[in-house]
Subunit: 403 residues, 2 copies
């Protein structure tokens, strides 16, 4: 098998851990696999370099930041390659450039445009373990770029796609994807397999193991992703196409997102295009709107409720202010003491009654549902934040996820 | 003027010092000069990275070491560029690759083969301050290489040569080249100007401000080198062609090398080619032989005396052993308690009596001279180590270098 293994900052956090990673890579190689390793900077390094830069400027140039920050991954890649060589493996460290990772020109948040994998392929053909500095690429001007948050995961997935690897393993300090947050529900079980779409719903709803960008890229490139821990030999969770999941569970997991605020607009002027105006203005202000509910009362006034991440609330308020001033809205109100609980599962597509069970579970526990939104594979409910844990545990039990 | 300014590890040792360097560069730029800055890694960084590598291997791969070590200069270059931008300058950081520094393929001790200066020239044309990561280049396989000890000085000199810069300033923690080591003779004076050849003699003899490789390259490329301190505005020492030095002093300086050992071979078999055999064998063992004296006694036996750096003594002994075994030499003896004192000056070429004055100074002070060697611009004497300071001070006074 050709396996791409990605190790994050905590997994390579000090020299002993880098040696542990070398041991793990060595085992995989000895088991007869071809291995490409993608590494992040040692944990703390990137923050240190950022603080250095901020010593000189509050708004340092992005091109310089990329040259600065890309150095951390180069250090880890060289060290891991040296450790593997010392263990008798033929290893070679590659920068993003050498690995053929070509990006667009947007410094500090570049997108991978293509991968020219011939250097990696040549090395693999010679039986080498390839160690790639993650998080970085090179633009067409020949300058180093970085990929933004979760960039090393993206490097790994893109490389796995370009090399048509059998597996892309993402090693973190979490052992896989759970049916819900084990800190809330200790009976939470690790999932063996989950589809890309379920993972996307779980990730965006709060299960922060993988960034959505990486899952989306894996889906697009048909990369079989595994998230597992580097601190034990425990099996992780395979994230793959729905077709690879034989027994599709009705519900895979319960996600909780506490980072939501609700905005209520009362007495929205009843004229065509007003909703579009409001949400376009929010989009222009880069406010991420999640759920939207619009009600038209009998007296012909319209109310619009929507949720945004708490971090976007300030910007959202500014936008709303302008509509208040122009008289398009009568009044507004805000509520940060809410959360969103979601039931996610591909099985919903073919089974009725999943949503009904969620609502009745809330009712049984006297939890009032403020907003509801559903998709093919998800039911989301906005409730008062104080009920967050109760709701998660009740739903986890109702769908028998602990069984 | 187009000036290349190189700042070593101590000069960029922490964030405050990097800011000081930015201030200094800013002043030079505001004075109307075009500036290219070459920086080393922050002091301690390279040693830290080396110790990391040695944690994994006693003999780490050179290619990986280059990827590892080259990261330190990239950090400094990015940070300095950010600091300059914050001060309102249009600055751009460049890696060795971007600056067009092409080397041969010898990792960790690469030689610069050519410089393609168009990226630097384009940036300079736009009025930018160019900040180059020193110590590194790229080989024709596209891999990063490093230039070995003193590598950032070499980067600076080579860049100055390629850009036909008016001046190449090397900033260190020493304010220039002195007539002798001020720790031995407090009356030592800083030289305003010195020729490349004198500098080469002084450097190889112990005045460790600049590596010979850099001075040789400056001589070859006709680069006017200045060594000065980054910790004050004191003028430094200009190292230039003899033609630029109007009043050629008889003697420019007194150098002391304590790092010498003397090897005496007694009863060397009197057959043609024996000396050549011995010194070829030493060369094969990479022993650096300095002074050689051969005496043929009246009884037809030959004695050969030579000096080597103390660090090469062990290897030299092994070579001598083999000639003892084969009977080509009767006996050998070693003396590490010696030193070499040298009088250096271009003026010697045209003035007689310089050597005679050196010998009589030794005689006046009852210092026995063990070996003598001379060149056009230098008289070197091997003496007992205990007389080292006395010899240096007496010669310094005899040639009136304190005047």
């Amino acid at each position: 098998m050709l396996i791409v293994q990605k190790f994050g900052g905590t997994s390579v956090g000090d020299l002993e851990r880098i040696q542990n990673v070398a041991n793990r890579v060595s085992e995989s190689k000895k088991a007869g696999n071809d291995i490409v390793v993608v590494v992040s900077a040692m944990s703390g390094e990137t923050n240190k370099l950022v603080s250095y830069a901020e010593h000189f400027s509050k708004n340092p140039s992005r091109a310089e930041m990329d040259m600065l920050l890309s150095s951390g991954e180069r250090v880890t890649a060289s060290l891991l390659s040296i450790a593997l060589q010392e263990m008798g493996h033929d290893a070679v460290a590659m920068t993003g450039r050498k690995a053929g990772i070509v990006t667009d020109k947007h410094h500090t948040k570049a997108r991978i445009e293509e991968i020219n994998p011939h250097n990696m392929q040549n090395a693999l053909k010679k039986g080498k373990v390839v160690v790639v500095a993650g998080f970085q690429g090179v633009n067409d001007a020949g300058d180093v770029t970085t990929l933004g948050r979760g960039g090393s995961d993206l490097s790994a997935v893109a490389i796995a796609g370009a090399l048509k690897a059998d597996l892309c393993e993402i090693y973190t300090d979490v052992s896989g994807i759970f049916t819900t947050d084990p800190r809330i529900e200790p009976k939470a079980k690790k999932l063996e397999r989950i589809s890309y779409d379920e993972m996307l719903e779980l990730a965006s709803l709060g299960a922060k193991v993988l960034q959505n960008r990486s899952v989306e890229l894996a889906k697009k490139l048909h990369v079989n992703l595994v998230t597992r821990t580097s601190f034990s030999n425990e099996e992780g969770t395979l994230i793959t196409t729905e077709g690879n999941i034989m027994e599709k569970p009705l519900v895979s997991g319960i996600a909780l997102d506490r980072n939501q605020a609700r905005i209520s607009l009362v007495g929205v002027k009843d004229r065509p295009g007003i909703a579009s105006e409001i949400f376009n203005a929010l989009a222009d202000a880069e406010v991420n709107v999640d759920m939207i509910i619009q009600n038209k009362a009998i007296d012909e006034t319209t109310n619009i409720d929507f949720t945004v991440p708490v971090s976007d609330l300030h910007d959202a308020k500014s936008v709303v202010e302008s509509f208040l001033k122009s008289g398009d809205i009568n009044s507004d109100s805000y509520n940060e003491d809410i959360c969103k609980v979601s039931v996610v599962g591909v099985g919903m597509k073919s089974h009725a009654g999943v949503a009904a069970k969620a609502f009745s579970t809330m009712a049984t526990n006297n939890i009032n549902i403020n907003m509801i939104s559903t998709s093919e594979i998800k039911v989301s409910m906005v409730i008062d934040e104080k009920y967050a844990e109760l709701a998660v545990r009740s739903l986890h039990e109702a769908y028998e996820l602990d069984k």
